[in-house]
Symmetry: C2
Subunit: 346 residues, 2 copies
């Protein structure tokens, strides 16, 4: 498999981007194409042991920075994102991965790759980070204003992805709403309900956020505005709570004395803590976005993964892993085929 990795994506490009690609090449033996400012990328690559790994560098002089908009993407035809997308378009690679500006990746994808024929709007699908079992949440930000027909297509694409990449047959699809009854929701959600109910997807009705956290649905469907606010709220709450716990327990003279008094007890607890450590690690991992890698841009003419800008090397590697799974599952081809079958017609 050949994967093009945007070397100029992350907040600290090209450091984690290059390191993640090197890790992926080593772990899976795939060919990695690093696209970006050649000199910078090569000097970063020189810091790694890459003997025997299939890693190429392709030059792209321009960079789409984190704060830049569609306008910049339009102008910067020689940016790493657009050069990488063109390689995917021409089948020089099998997937594109970036942990850069999401709007930039989306715009580059629309300019260079285009949408799958018949798909009205793209959607960004993300594994919801706080759920008892994997839930695929979409749209988390590609299409902020949706119509019921878009949501139906999102559901159909997500169904194809979850079936092919996760191996879950006929996944449950829940519509995020402010209540479980069919008459709950804003106008768009209320209109989408019957459209989903009368389609070929396994629609389980409206779901509230607590149902998503329970893993009560495999796919959680909503417009890109609400989905983005929901995902960002989840990250904000988790990070606030952990910071709050930490600060509350370590601030003030009283607490500092308390922590000193706790020390001998903690030493006595060491054997117990060591036994507990797999659980503690599992908790930390659950909340670590690096474990998840990235989000899948569904609806484009190729496998495109976007990760968090603050990704470290492991997160970049996991985003590449997600791209591999989508390529192996033949997700884009399956969506294309699905759209030509009458049962999938809108």
């Amino acid at each position: 498999m050949r994967i093009v990795v945007d070397a100029m994506g992350s907040d600290h490009y090209p450091v984690p981007d290059v390191a993640g690609a090197v890790q992926a090449a080593r772990e899976w033996g795939d060919e990695m194409v690093l696209v970006g400012q050649e000199e910078l990328v090569r000097s970063e690559l020189a810091k790694h042991e890459v003997g025997g790994l299939a890693i190429r560098v392709v030059h792209a002089p321009e960079v789409i920075e984190m704060h830049e908009h569609t306008h910049a993407v339009k102008q910067k035809k020689e940016s790493s994102m657009r050069v990488g997308m063109r390689m995917l378009k021409c089948d020089e690679v099998d997937a594109f991965v970036s942990v850069g500006n999401t709007a930039g990746v989306l715009a580059s994808g629309l300019f260079e790759l285009g949408r799958i024929r018949g798909i009205r709007r793209p959607a960004l699908g993300t594994i919801y980070p706080v759920a008892a079992q994997p839930v695929f949440l979409l749209d988390t930000g590609a299409t902020t204003d949706c119509k019921p027909e878009y949501l139906l297509q999102f559901a159909q694409m997500a169904k194809t992805y979850v079936e092919h990449a996760w191996g879950i047959d006929n996944p449950r699809v829940g519509l995020i709403s402010n209540g479980e009854e069919a008459d709950k929701g804003n106008l768009m959600v209320r209109d989408a309900y019957p459209v989903l109910e009368n389609s070929n997807i396994n629609f389980i009705g409206n779901v509230e956020p607590k149902e998503v956290a329970k893993g009560g649905t495999d796919i959680a469907l909503i417009d890109g505005f609400t989905g983005n606010v929901m995902l960002k709220t989840t990250e904000a709450v988790a990070s606030f709570l952990f910071r709050f716990l930490k600060n509350e327990l370590s601030s003030g003279v009283r607490n500092k004395i308390a922590l000193l008094l706790l020390l001998p007890g903690l030493v006595g607890m060491l054997p117990g803590l060591l036994l507990l450590s797999p659980s503690i690690r599992r908790i930390a991992r659950r909340l670590d976005y690096a474990e998840y890698g990235g989000a899948l841009l569904l609806g484009l003419n190729g496998v495109v993964i976007v990760g968090h800008g603050r990704s470290n090397a492991r997160a970049v590697k996991n985003a590449i892993g997600q791209a591999r799974t989508a390529v192996e599952g033949g997700v884009v081809e399956a969506i294309r085929v699905g759209l030509t079958q009458p049962a999938h017609a809108v």
Copy 2:
């Protein structure tokens, strides 16, 4: 002050509803009017020591149950909610409090009290539970489909509330969006931005959920659909994380042995833990909805507070406390006056 309390509101009515009203009467010396099925309410009241307290019971034969909709509210003219709202309308009481069905309270309020003249839509305002300092989030569910003009009125009502009830002068108003730039958001949010910017409120622009958690705004503004999903996501994430921590640490033989091994250490830590306990209590309180009581229904012709259906007595008492603050601050009167001033005109 006289406050009418819906005795038939909570999931376990009339138990916590009556107990909360008794606690409030004792703590603040106010007159409480319990409205509901008289026999049931009186027999519950008989379990309490109420000597010297100003508590009355007003009979209302019908009950709006948790799952019922506007249609039921329309029919049940003699429900506790509608009878209570009529007392507020006739100035027999100063505020209405229920921890029942939010849609039921809203519909009862619209039928009996009506909106303040000039207010286009009501909004439900809630203290956001996971923030470094109080943030007033609205709308959390009264008006699912909003226009920019509604949001401006919500902001003006919230400003009045925060100034009069919290004593914060010229509070900051942030618009919840999927990014900080003015061009982020769905269509409604993008249209609302210039309307808010050109108004007399202290508009600080778009805010993301992490900014709300930091307390970077005093008022967080959004439509009732997204606001409800955001609030419910917050509750779901907090409760999931705590359950997850608990389950991870206490499941499996390995962890059970580990916890036994921890015991001697914990005993040694007792003095330290005792010193820490105010912080631990603060953490627990922060996450305890009972501390917050309820949400304020802004835009109705009177002070109306709605609490969580799973409220205990303390949560009911705190909801009554919120009603007292709003009455003392003259919030409804101030909103009325504000609307007649040209600077507040839409």
